[in-house]
């Protein structure tokens, strides 16, 4: 993956830039020592590493604004960073960019149960929001598996999801407002505490913009009352086709489960070996269906799902009868990633979404690819919404295997798009899928997206090298080339 070429002029001004950052953020807030920069050189896409020019850890909005305004005036690039758990390289530093870490923005500003919202700083972790409100019976619904570590600011940037987003939505559906600082230092509030924005839904574009439009300095999220009960079913199938049919029939039956996860045989066996929770080992596909709500609803729906499962050819079906059992069903699923460590030294996690009806076909073709690449693949996915997480197993110490794994991953994503799906369901484009964007979008599609970037950051200084395969200069993108039209005087002067 090629990153934008480092600007030598900026590199040569490093000492001056560091001094200037220190004048804005005194004390320990600026890191320039090469050893101390090490922890910042990658995010959770660890195949890519690059120490930044310097790291700055501001504590106030004024500092963020002053840093950005100065960098803007001086033409210095900035990469925002939350907790560094991005799986797509969104927070990957650039040699000639300042890395702006938001970890010190770790306060919960306000909680309002009456309006059912929480105002938090972006460095607060996802789980900390739930922790802050759970004693009052509330929680924050989007629950990425990384929730103990990832920050709300990062969640906003990536529009993160979790196992419960089929029913409760992604980050974007649970956010009311943000305060952002734009690259020129200007501070704006988008959205607020009401359900609809006053004008264009700019909040809607900032969520999922991968740190390219502004630095998020405050977030207002919706909080929900915690459901009275949750129960899960653990269902085994002799084939992926039957499991897929069960998923489709549950939804066609009018049931939107809180979560509906599928694992293939390899993933199931690895998870069971890792946590020993009693997963059946003789099934080709394992489904976890979670239902939540009032006790009466859970009981009723558990029975309905069980009937549908049996009709779809399930060979085993257990319904949790205690909270401990429900958590045990999930323990294997949640350990699926670390469990891969027993099968191979490294794994590469993909994140495409497909129309669910194409699931059996996509899995069959993935199995063929796996053979031709000579790399095993385990499948764990959010079956309810067709979001696949194929885990490609490889060994980085075997020459060429990383490249092979990446090529295999790209082929899987192309396949997702080919069957009517998308490159990423929740992990973001970042650097990882940047060059695949043309598989899904035409030049015109991408240009229409990038012009929004130009409206926020016309000098293209904020997090460049991510999302867009080619970052066109804004002046160039702005030019009009009018085609078509049927006026009798096509060369009528325009003004």
């Amino acid at each position: 993956m090629k990153m934008p070429e480092a600007d030598q002029a900026v590199l040569s001004r490093r000492a001056e830039i560091v001094a200037r950052l220190r004048s804005i953020v005194p004390g320990e807030g600026v890191i320039a020592d090469p050893d101390a920069l090490k922890p910042y050189e990658t995010d959770a896409l660890t195949a890519y590493r690059q120490p930044p020019l310097a790291v700055v850890l501001p504590e106030t909005v004024e500092q963020v604004s002053a840093i950005l305004a100065w960098c803007h005036a001086e033409g210095v690039k900035v990469v925002p960073r939350g907790a560094g758990t991005s799986l797509s390289g969104g927070a990957l530093p650039l040699a000639d960019a300042v890395l702006l870490g938001m970890a010190k923005f770790n306060r919960i500003v306000d909680i309002n149960y009456y309006d059912r919202l929480a105002v938090v700083q972006p460095g607060v972790t996802n789980l900390a929001v739930t922790r802050a409100v759970e004693d009052s019976g509330f929680y924050y619904a989007p629950d990425p598996s990384s929730q103990i570590a990832c920050s709300i600011g990062g969640n906003i940037a990536e529009n993160s999801g979790g196992v419960h987003c089929l029913k409760y939505g992604l980050t974007t559906n649970n956010v009311l407002g943000v305060q952002i600082v734009m690259m020129d230092g200007e501070v704006v509030r988008l959205g607020g505490r009401s359900l609809d924005p006053a004008g264009l839904d700019l909040l809607g574009v900032v969520v999922g913009s991968e740190g390219l439009l502004g630095v998020v300095t405050e977030v207002t999220v919706r909080i929900l009352p915690k459901p009275q009960t949750a129960r899960a079913l653990l269902i085994g199938f002799p084939s992926v086709e039957q499991a897929s049919k069960c998923v489709a029939d549950v939804i066609a039956g009018g049931i939107i489960p809180a979560g509906m996860e599928m694992m293939d045989k390899l993933a199931t066996q690895a998870a069971e070996a890792f946590v020993q929770v009693g997963y059946p080992l003789d099934v080709e596909a394992l489904l976890i269906v979670e239902l939540d709500g009032p006790q009466a609803e859970c009981d009723h729906l558990c029975a309905e799902v069980q009937t549908i499962a049996n009709a779809s050819g399930a060979v085993s079906c257990r319904t949790s009868t205690s909270e401990a059992e429900r958590l045990a069903f999930w323990a294997g699923r949640k350990a699926a990633f670390p469990a891969m460590g027993r099968l191979a030294p490294d794994f590469y996690c993909m994140d495409g979404t497909i129309p669910r009806r194409r699931m059996p076909e996509v899995l069959a073709r993935m199995a063929e690819m796996s053979k031709s690449y000579g790399l095993a693949v385990a499948n764990v996915f959010h079956a309810g919404d067709g979001n696949l997480h194929p885990l490609i197993l490889y060994d980085v110490n075997q020459p060429g295997q990383l490249e092979q794994a990446e090529a295999f991953g790209s082929d899987i994503l192309r396949l997702c798009v080919e069957v009517g799906g998308v490159l990423t369901g929740e992990h973001g484009v970042g650097v990882e899928k940047r060059d695949l964007m043309p598989v899904m979008f035409s030049e015109a599609d991408l240009a229409h997206q990038q012009r929004i970037k130009c409206a926020f950051d016309p000098k293209l200084l904020l997090n460049p090298g991510k999302v867009f395969p080619v970052l066109h200069r804004c002046a160039e993108l702005g030019r009009m080339h009018i085609h078509g039209g049927a006026l009798p005087f096509p060369d009528l002067p325009r003004f």
Partner: protein
Amino acid sequence: MNASSLPKPSTSNDVIDAIADAVRADAPLEIRGGGSKATIGAPRNAPILDMSGFDTVIDYDPAELVLTAGAGTPLSGISALVESENQMLAFEPFDHGPLLGQVAGAATIGGVIAAGVAGSRRVSGGGARDHLLGFEGISGRGERFVAGAKVVKNVTGYDLPKLAAGSWGRLFAMTQLTLKVLPRGRESATCIVEGLSPTQAVAAMARAMGSQADVSAAAYLPAALAGGASLTALRVEGFGPSVAARCTMIEVALAEFGAVGRVDAATAGKVWTDLRTLAPLAGTAPLWRIATPPSTAPSLVAALEPFGAQWLFDWAGGLTWLTLDGDPARVRAAAAAASGHAILVRAPEAMRRIVPALHPQANGVAALEARVRRAFDPNGVFETGRFHEVANAN
């Protein structure tokens, strides 16, 4: 050029041609679906780009929870189609025709999305923004593009569908939309509490929304409109055993507010229909749609009642529909003081000429919004003056 001089497009190329012509002639163009909301915004006379030719459902697979349709497809047709599969558009969009003194049936799905229309279930199920997954359209540059996708979960590229919802035809002409659909609750019940003051009602609705009863909609009609005692209504939807259990949960949660009753289907139907047609606020007085956090809604209406405001709450108090035959600045100031914003939905022409339909934004946001508009529409082809843009400023 007048409205009738533009042929009705039926393909993307027709739309491209119409926009290209308008750009070359430096003339504005108004994108229109069914025209049911044409009286929202300032009077204007830009030629109409009539999208009603894009009127077919292209793909609907209930098990995928996805429906793709031409932007000009009537809302009524889509609603009937998804209902036939026991599904729904969960944001409960509705036709503005009746509340603006026109016949029902003209509203198109494109218009509903572009105006960000959402009904009572908005408070629990999300708005138009949350259910538009993707679209195809032609920008003010005369270029066709797609955004979003046709699957329920996607974060690839910028989320332009969010921007489309509530864009009021100022960015691009949508030709095709992909929406998320959801199963309809098999049963529905409405619980009521009578005689609460606005402050008590908002507190009761907050209590219910914060309970585990999974309330799908909550509204309040003050005594003046309810005919006798004020009415606080809470709706639950879902499977039979669940609906029954949740009504009981509401009774328990609201015990301190008074007796919780259940109304029959006909009465419930009328309550929720009134919130769509706004029959209780019928007439010609200027009608405002004010979004605030629920907690400030009682002070908002208390500030405007002395001047003759009539009003009701939806979205558990997060939405106030209000009529006031008086100074519009007073409404906007009260909305802002309540941390909200007010859209002028119905007003005489003379008033619409001077009062912008959309709530004015803070300076920084207004400038940013203008830059985003110009990103899609550099020549201001879609600036008809409807929203008090400086028409065709270049």
